[in-house]
Amino acid sequence: EKVVLRVGHFSNVTHAQGVIGHGLSRQGKGWFEARLGPNVEVQWFVYNAGPSATEAIFAGSLDLTYVGPNPAINAHLKSRGEEIRIVAGACSGGAALVVPPDGRIKTDADFRGKKLATPQFGNTQDVAARAWLQSKGFRVRMTGGDVLVVPTANADQLPLFTQGSLDAVWTVEPWVSRLVLEANGKVYLEENSLWNQTQGKYVTTHLVSRVRFLNQHPELVKQWIAAQVELTTWIKQHPDEAKKLFNDEIKVETTKALPAPTLNRAWEHLTLTDDPIRASLVKSANDAHRIGFLKSEPDLSKIYRLDLLNAVLREKGMPEVP
Amino acid sequence: MTTLAEELNPVSPEKLVVDAVSKTFRARRSAVPALDNVSLTVQEGEFVCLVGPSGCGKSTLLNIIAGLEKPDSGQVLADGKAVTNPGRERMMMFQESALFPWLDVINNVMFGLKLKPNLNHQERREVAEYYLHLVGLDKFLEANVHELSGGMKQRVALARALAPNPRVLLMDEPFAALDALTREQLYSDIQRIWQERRKTIIFVTHNVREAACLGDRVVVFSPHPGRIREQFSIPLPRPRDINSVEVAQYSGEIVKALKQYLPATPETVTANS
């Protein structure tokens, strides 16, 4: 009997493994399918935001998904640790704070009274932006404060930024590249400069699994992780082929491919990695708590289940993750 | 199975007995004594009119006879059996026509027939057509209720009440809302139909002249609480004309009797309105 494996991802460079995997399935050359065997049917679903994906996990209509750290934390804590587990990393880096070229923001102090856009309320960049603003001495509330943080969908950010309605945008690739290349934005701050304790690395995308599915099919999840590790390696070795595969699939999913310069710049600012970079997640969670997104001290003791990943890495002779 | 012929035929003798019926309406604070120890016997085929001022319990008594309400004490016997529920043997007609606006004329008349077993659709329709012919509305079988005049509506209501062939017809001021001319036509219609179909009729009215014109017997009520005070026999030949001198004489007598019992509110009952 066939097992159906339902997998989610976004149409986004930070989800490159998912996008490329989906594209290969679509072309009938399934990377994952080949490694999971004939008894597994992979169904791909495309989401445009973390909460929708975690909702689908809650509703039991999704088994594995690529998702950013804060939606994962949120979902884990709101379900009291009972619904999801992080089983692997996928991507690191790529976030930056971009300001308009007109010089309205030169120093940190210039942010007072300005509008800073983030992609989504409570998502990774939103938390990072608020935490950074607080560290600079600004008072930031959920819906107000010294700097107005306005969660704005990525697609809206670009025109608003171009019109000058936004004074700064904290977002992630490929949008950083688009802001820089299409709207002459200036990178005010690369987020990796804030991550000294992890050598500039911080998690952008995870692979997350539904707990019940994980308990029923641990072997299947392990096979998926193994396939992903191989895919990550392949992508790193064949960047040009990977970019083409990626862009073809993006065109199918969104009707528009990314312009080559944007894709190239974005690709450079990201690191695909299977390491979930645990230390950075803990800090993100603590930031979220400090800002007020999480009411209680986050308890992440159960969020990881990395034994499968480490087993895969061991088998392949690669270094295990903490 | 009843045949169509039987259905349209006169029925076996029968009578109504109202036996020491009392009824008080209790609201949160107040109690209105509507009927106090009312007894009345109606012969098979008799036409009895109840007159009395507003609020003397005429409608209440009619509802109790119909089985729509229960008396506090006493009982109503129809054919010797106690009345506890409404039934097809005793049909009621109301002041407003109570026709169903979502049905056309013929379906209104057929409503009660459809609840009668042992008749097929064709027979029901024939019965309905017969009664609509009886009230002179052959041409309006498919008309909508709102297209009828007030008098035509009450004619349809009469046909609807007659159609299930009840033994008793209870009529609660059926002509009160009509104009004088229409009313006069209906007086002769109802007399004709009563003679043709031999129904027992209890007819409630405010209008003493109407009562004298229609009834074999006129029963006079007084209010607070509702009591029967006097009864008049009207031995005039039929059909009677409401404008005739004899009817006027009887009605004069009845008005005189009525006025005895209600010195304070003479305008509630008029000899001729």
Binding site: S52, A59 | E96, P101, W102, F111, L115, V145, H146
Partner: protein, 253 residues
């Protein structure tokens, strides 16, 4: 005849001015498409089937959800009208939820059902059911008691009275409640479709949304025209016959 002519002329002039303003670049194409572009878009998307399929998806959601809403709302309304206890409990809830824009159920529906067809149906049902409940309740309460009494003397009892007397007598109210329920359901479905991707099919709302994302003004205006057409047709097909029937029977209007 003359009136029609004037009206037709007016609309033609409107189109002409619109086209002119676009041609003269007074209206930028990102703000307003040329009328011809709208026509072209509609034609294209009709030909390649996008439009037809999206319309089908949307209408299926709407119809199923709406019929479910009516099927649930009618008996509930009868219950609230019949039993005081139901009136005091369910009736109160209905009154409250009736004022709640049903689009507010979207976040909950997504959490409960995920981005599935069920979520959409739930929102549509929530949009229509309370209007139907309240209208039915209201309609039944306004039925003159004399109808039921007349029916009782003719031998009607219990369920027969409800089905053959109370329900038809309340029909004018029920139909207008159903119409309101339809309007609310249609509005909330559009809202949900415009803003939420449903994995099981793209409706008209999605096309509208993508029109915005792509700054394709021709698509936006084109889809809005389609939505207007559907609204007008729904009225003509679903409610006009009922209302005409009721007007003729009851003699209202």
């Amino acid at each position: 005849m003359k009136r029609r002519l004037i009206a037709a002329l007016f609309f033609l002039m409107l189109l002409g001015i619109w086209e002119l303003l676009c041609r003269a670049k007074i209206w930028s194409p990102v703000m307003m498409p040329e009328p011809l572009a709208v026509g072209e878009y509609l034609w294209e998307s009709l030909r390649d089937g996008t439009l037809g399929q999206a319309t089908l998806v949307t209408l299926r959601r709407l119809l199923i959800g709406y019929l479910a809403g009516v099927a649930i709302g009618l008996p509930l309304g009868l219950l609230t009208a019949r039993f005081k206890t139901v009136e005091d409990t369910l009736g109160v809830i209905a009154l409250g939820l009736q004022t709640l824009p049903s689009v507010c159920w979207v976040p909950l529906a997504l959490l409960w059902f995920g981005q599935t067809e069920m979520a959409m149906l739930f929102v549509v049902v929530m949009g229509s059911v309370w209007s139907v409940v309240i209208a039915t309740d209201n309609g039944v309460r306004t039925v003159p008691p004399i109808y039921a009494r007349a029916a009782r003397t003719m031998g009607s009892r219990g369920l027969h009275t409800w089905l053959k007397v109370i329900l038809p007598a309340a029909l004018p109210f029920i139909v207008s409640g159903m119409k309101q329920g339809w309007a609310f359901a249609w509005r909330s479905l559009m809202a949900a479709e415009i803003f939420v991707t449903i994995l099981t099919g793209f409706g008209l709302g999605h096309l509208l949304h993508y029109g915005r994302e792509l700054h394709a003004m021709d698509q936006i205006i084109g889809i809005m025209l389609v939505i207007i057409a559907i609204g007008l047709l729904a009225d003509k097909i679903l409610f006009s016959p009922w209302e005409k029937y009721l007007h003729r029977r009851w003699g209202t209007d």
